[in-house]
């Protein structure tokens, strides 16, 4: 059963499906090698489908080569086993079914093994081709080396082990597809293994369905459809058309053939319906978030966490980390600080600055072209080491797997980094960091950082001048909706001129009036920020951090967004464990003398917000030096709390003096409850509403149609026509058939007989018929005032003569409405019939362009 066309189509389908792996694997080496595997499997499949003798010879040789490691490396037992395999393969020459089945499977597997061996273990093989025990061991060991890569978020760097896993997977799928599609002749079923290949990226924690993936999915589908189409053509060639169709004559190209227009139209309609459903259902489902294919790519938010983003950015990774079912261990550390202080010490990894050009928050380290070995102790700009407000803290980090070109999370502000892992130090934007070129495993780093511990008073009293470089680099925001955002910022920092108090105001506003949700439901447009602040007020750390940073800039405080981890959780032995669930983003504002000072606008605590986040002490407690907190805001030393101000001012006093109380269990609790409530929103209610609406829609449609029909008719003629349409709908609803060729008079006779109408409704029916007859065919019309009553009388008579199921159907599921919908769908299907008319022309044109084949 030689079937090269189908074999090629199956191979093509597998290649197309393999494109979907681009979403999880970087580079293209795996694809090229995968295509090689697919081609080889197709060859193997062709060999298995050859005549008995060649197939047996091919299988025997393949098994002989593939079983060499078994025969030479495992003593007598291995030798006997190998010889047995070869013998069974050779036995297939006799035509024995079992032996042939084994030979077929063995041929596929041997080809794949030999191919993998050549690609990945040639150095350990005999003559670079024939597998040896060492080469097979090497092949078996390689995938385990790939496991760390697979634990990192996609796309995975395509190292050799990763390539091996990918190529082996593609090869295995190619075997199954070839077997099902070509050998079993069930190409439709071959979609399942292809789907398996496609499900890899879907199952790999990808957040959204990006444009690239849509394309790869389309390619995969195209490949699959090609396979189906090839099979269809093959069957036609073998058996002829199964469906009896009319023959058309006089086609454009003069060829007389079966009329496939109806079949083609059916295909188009099915396709159209499938596309419509695929678009409509995800939009209709309240929980899903369809990819906005029409949104402008690279919009204002970029990766700054509007809703979903196409690009991979530290900000977008956070949501994935936080929603992962099982927390993934990132690192562990010990610190010289006490637990109370350590809990507030976040580990910063990425520093994001607002990029005016792209109007998005970008990683600042991305610009670190020159990696200089900095001098230590490193002087962090703005931080005066050794002053009363800083503590030298030593943190020993133990990182399981540190990806390449990714900074090591360190506590701010690092002045000295040592240890076996601290080989490639860099500085950028005034930050000392470890930024290795290659991936590091089990990295150990000891960081000495000057942890600033400012008091509110210090921050408030701070009167030092802002360095112009910081102001220029981190002080501007010229993004979308700047004016509205500025007015929001001023509104919630009203009456305050002090940067620190403004920041406190903002932080308290966020923590009081906003709810924490990992599904913020924000538009994926540049205007998401305004939406978040103005309407939604639900989000997670990314939205809070970005919003806080933007508002801070708009009131004149330089700000940046840091992505990293919270302090994590302290285990019994005193080490701190940081997992993927501790991923976090937070804003930092620059205060001269203290450097970058962290704020925490995100609601904290596992119940209401980010589990291990904690607001800095200087923003929640009163650290006014020696000043004891007093209950009266006006008596405090804070100048901004002038008496007689609005409630915002009262709140402001509260911020400082009853900060903990003012975390507002009432409001906060409420918003938290609403947040929790909205997260657990009973989906049953909308589904029930939708279901009821769907069920009621035919009856509703009938009612609307009837009402609109009568409302739109004013003249006698229009009333007669409306009555006629209405009567026909009633007849359809009660299951009384009329022919399209029935004239009004014929209809009267037919209906009166079918529905056993009594004289009164029969006269009403005759009146309607006369009216419509006059309206349609005569110059004179009959008065239409009574027609509505007549139609109602006929309907009543129809209902009284109908059975109960008929009456119920007419009431709840009127067939006339259903017929109208079906009619609309049919006309929509007919809208695509232009393809029919133009296709022969297009084909004719195409043939004219092509050079004529020499006869």
């Amino acid at each position: 059963m030689m079937n090269h066309r189908l074999t090629a189509a199956a191979a093509l389908a597998t290649v197309c499906a393999s494109f979907s792996l681009f979403a999880v694997l970087s580079g293209a080496s795996w694809l090229i090698q995968g295509i090689g595997a697919i081609v080889l499997i197709a060859l193997a499949g062709t060999l298995t489908r050859a005549a008995t003798a060649p197939a047996a010879i091919g299988a025997t040789i393949a098994v002989l080569i593939a079983s060499v490691p078994l025969m030479v490396g495992f003593g007598w037992a291995g030798l006997i086993g190998g010889l047995a395999l070869i013998a069974v393969a050779a036995l297939s020459a006799t035509g024995n079914r079992t032996a042939r089945g084994f030979a077929m499977l063995a041929t596929y597997c041997s080809f794949l093994l030999i191919y993998l061996n050549i690609l990945f273990a040639d150095a350990h093989s005999y003559l670079w081709v024939i597998p040896s025990r060492a080469s097979v061991t090497h092949l078996l060991r390689l995938p385990s080396q790939a496991s760390p890569e697979f634990h990192s978020s996609p796309p995975v760097t395509a190292t050799r082990p990763v390539d091996l896993v990918a190529v082996a997977g593609i090869g295995a799928v190619a075997i199954i597809v070839d077997y099902i599609a070509v050998r079993l002749r069930r190409p439709a079923l071959a979609g399942l293994p292809l789907l398996l290949l496609f499900s890899v990226p879907v199952a790999s924690n990808l957040k959204g369905f990006s444009f690239g993936q849509s394309i790869s999915f389309a390619i995969a589908v195209a490949g699959y459809l090609t396979l189906l189409s090839t099979d269809g053509r093959q069957r036609l060639r073998m058996w002829g058309r199964l469906v009896t169709v009319r023959r058309i004559t006089g086609a454009d190209d003069g060829v007389t053939g079966p009329d496939t227009r109806d079949l083609a139209a059916t295909g188009r309609r099915v396709g159209l319906a499938a596309i419509c459903l695929a678009i409509a259902i995800p939009i209709a489902l309240p929980t899903s978030k369809p990819h906005d294919i029409f949104s402008k790519l690279g919009n204002g938010t970029g990766g700054s966490g509007g809703g979903s983003s196409d690009e991979t950015s530290p900000l977008t990774d956070i949501q994935q980390d936080l929603t992962e079912g099982k927390p993934l261990a990132i690192l562990s550390y010990t610190t010289s600080e006490d637990a109370q202080q350590a809990r507030q010490q976040y580990l910063g990894q990425w520093v994001m600055n607002y990029d005016q050009a792209s109007q998005s928050w970008e990683v600042d380290y991305g610009k670190a072209q020159s990696i200089l070995p900095p001098r230590m102790p490193y002087l962090v700009p703005g931080v005066q080491a050794g002053t009363t407000s800083t503590n030298s803290v030593t943190t020993s980090l133990d990182i399981g797997l540190q990806p390449a070109q990714t900074p090591v999370p360190v506590p701010y502000a690092p002045t000295r980094i040592t240890g076996p892992g601290a080989k490639q130090l860099a500085e950028e934007s005034g930050t000392l960091m470890v930024l290795a070129d290659d991936q590091q495993k089990n990295m150990r780093v000891t960081v000495t950082s000057e942890v600033t511990d400012p008091t509110a008073t210090q921050l408030y009293d701070d009167a030092q001048l802002m360095p112009p470089s910081i102001q220029n680099a981190f002080g501007n925001y010229k993004g979308p909706d700047a004016s509205q955002l500025r007015s929001i910022a001023y509104k919630y920092t009203n009456g305050t001129t002090d940067p620190f108090l403004e920041a406190i105001d903002l932080q308290n506003w966020f923590r009081a009036d906003f709810a924490y949700s990992l599904k913020p439901d924000l538009p994926n447009t540049s205007g998401w920020l305004l939406d978040f602040l103005d309407k939604g007020r639900r989000g997670y750390c990314v939205q809070f951090a970005v919003a806080f940073a933007v508002l801070a800039r708009l009131v004149g405080i330089p700000s940046r967004v840091v992505v990293g981890f919270t302090a994590g959780t302290q285990s019994a032995d005193g080490t701190w464990q940081v997992t993927s669930h501790d991923a976090h983003a937070w804003p930092e504002l620059f205060f001269p003398g203290f450097g970058w000072v962290r704020f925490e606008p995100t609601p904290a605590g596992s119940a209401v917000g980010q589990g291990t986040a904690e607001a800095p002490a200087y923003t929640t407690k009163v650290h006014l030096g020696a000043v004891t907190p007093t209950p009266s805001p006006s008596s405090s030393t804070l100048p901004s709390t002038a008496p007689g101000k609005t409630s915002t001012d009262t709140l402001k006093g509260c911020h400082f003096l009853h900060a903990n109380a003012c975390r507002n269990p009432g409001a906060g609790g409420q918003s938290a409850a609403s947040s929790a409530g909205s997260d657990d929103f009973p989906i049953g209610i909308p589904i029930a509403i939708v279901a009821v609406l769907l069920l009621a829609s035919p009856a509703l449609g009938r009612w609307v149609t009837r009402r609109r029909r009568w409302m739109a008719s004013s003249t006698d003629s229009a009333l007669a026509l409306a009555a006629w349409s209405e009567l026909h709908d009633d007849l359809t609803d009660y299951g009384i058939d009329t022919l399209p060729s029935d004239s009004p008079r014929t209809t009267v006779i037919r209906v009166a007989e079918a529905a056993h109408l009594r004289p009164v409704p029969r006269q009403a029916l005759a009146r309607i018929a006369s009216a419509v007859e006059r309206a349609q065919y005569s110059l004179a019309t009959l008065p239409g005032a009574r027609l509505r009553t007549d139609v109602a009388a006929v309907r009543k008579a129809l209902a009284s003569n109908a059975t109960t199921p008929q009456r119920l159907r007419a009431l709840l599921l009127p067939p006339s409405t259903v017929a109208a919908v079906v009619g609309a769908l049919q006309s929509a299907g007919r809208a695509t019939s232009w393809i029919d008319s133009s296709w022969p022309t297009m084909r004719h044109q195409f043939r004219r362009i092509l050079p004529h084949r020499a006869s």
């Binding site: 026509l721 022919l739 399209p740 060729s741 029935d742 004239s743 009004p744 008079r745 014929t746 007859e773 006059r774 309206a775 349609q776 065919y777 005569s778 110059l779 004179a780 019309t781 009959l782 008065p783």
Partner: protein, 324 residues
């Protein structure tokens, strides 16, 4: 209440219905039990067409033609078509008058209001065509002189469907000139019994008194022309005719003349019903009588023994009505 466009049209319609009823009653007193055939005959008379009655011998073809002619008090001539009949036997000849020493035209039997052409398919094609030419043009040209025929002018031709020796079947082009082909058919049992009673003792045709004048008929014909044919009806007529042309079961469809005949006949049919407008029922009722004799079934339909009448009935039943 009907809003009428004109009182005069109304009056003529009422008159028409009245006259038609009287004529119909008169004819039916001779031909019992065939009201439909009589109505069709009247329709053709008012629509200025010609009838081809195709039926077996002895069912009253000639009787009906005579009764119709007599009841409207107009001239009626009968031509028995034979193979040796010449065109001049129908149209008339110019004979030399010895007294006035000039050729004088002697009008043939065609110069009448109702011409009964019996067994028309027995005449030679040449003679047939002489008749058919005068049917279409309503004039006769002999020796270069044209003589108009006075209205009303109607030819009632009969032919036997049973193939007999010495017959020349009417070609399609000639059949197309007849507005309606109808079959009278055998009477039912009661009608036949009645016929035996009435025709047994005396000839009822002799007792038939004219109920209308030829001038009345001319007025009625004018009234029929005023009957309104709406756009949808015209569309419907075109649809029916087009359907016969595109039907796979028909080799030859209906001609544009057929469409014209169908519309005229529908007008007369509606007028006989007392309506000043045509409804689809008129067209549907007339589709078979007006169109069937013009159609030629395809080979497949002939093999399947499908007659044009049946094919046409199916077409009419399937064709949706155009709506306004």
């Amino acid at each position: 209440m009907v809003t009428h466009t004109g009182q005069s049209a109304d009056r003529s319609l009422d008159e028409l219905v009245d006259v038609a009823r009287q004529v119909s009653a008169a004819v039916q007193s001779v031909i019992a039990g065939k009201p439909d055939a009589v109505r069709l005959a009247l329709t053709v008379l008012l629509a200025e067409g010609h009838i081809l009655i195709e039926d077996v011998p002895g069912v009253g073809k000639t009787m009906m033609a005579k009764a119709l002619a007599r009841s409207i008090d107009c001239s009626v001539r009968r031509v028995q078509f034979t193979p040796d009949l010449l065109p001049s036997d129908i149209t008339g000849v110019s004979a030399f008058n010895q007294e006035i020493r000039e050729f004088e035209f002697k009008p043939g039997p065609i110069f009448a209001n109702v011409v009964l052409g019996d067994e028309i398919n027995r005449a030679s094609p040449k003679t047939q065509s002489a008749l058919l030419e005068s049917m279409e043009e309503r004039q006769v040209t002999v020796d270069g002189t044209t003589y108009p025929l006075s209205p009303p002018f109607m030819v009632i031709a009969t032919q036997n469907p049973v193939e007999m020796e010495g017959t020349y079947p009417l070609p399609e082009a000639q059949r197309d000139r007849f507005m309606i082909r109808l079959s009278i058919g055998y009477p039912d049992r009661d009608s036949e019994m009645l016929m035996l009673d009435s025709h047994g003792s005396s000839e009822p045709l002799d007792d038939l008194k004219p109920v209308a004048q030829a001038s009345d008929i001319r007025a009625l014909v004018a009234a029929v022309r005023e009957v309104h044919v709406s756009g949808p009806i015209r569309q419907y007529i075109i649809d029916v005719v087009t359907a016969t042309r595109s039907s796979a079961e028909l080799r030859l469809g209906a001609s544009p003349r057929a469409a014209l005949h169908l519309m005229r006949a529908s007008r007369a049919y509606a007028a006989l019903d007392g309506r000043d407008f045509v409804i689809p029922d008129d067209v549907q009722a007339l589709a078979v009588p007006v169109l069937a004799h013009r159609l030629l079934p395809s080979t497949a339909a002939m093999v399947g023994r499908e007659l044009p009448d049946q094919i046409l009935t199916t077409i009419v039943r399937r064709l949706p009505l155009p709506s306004r």
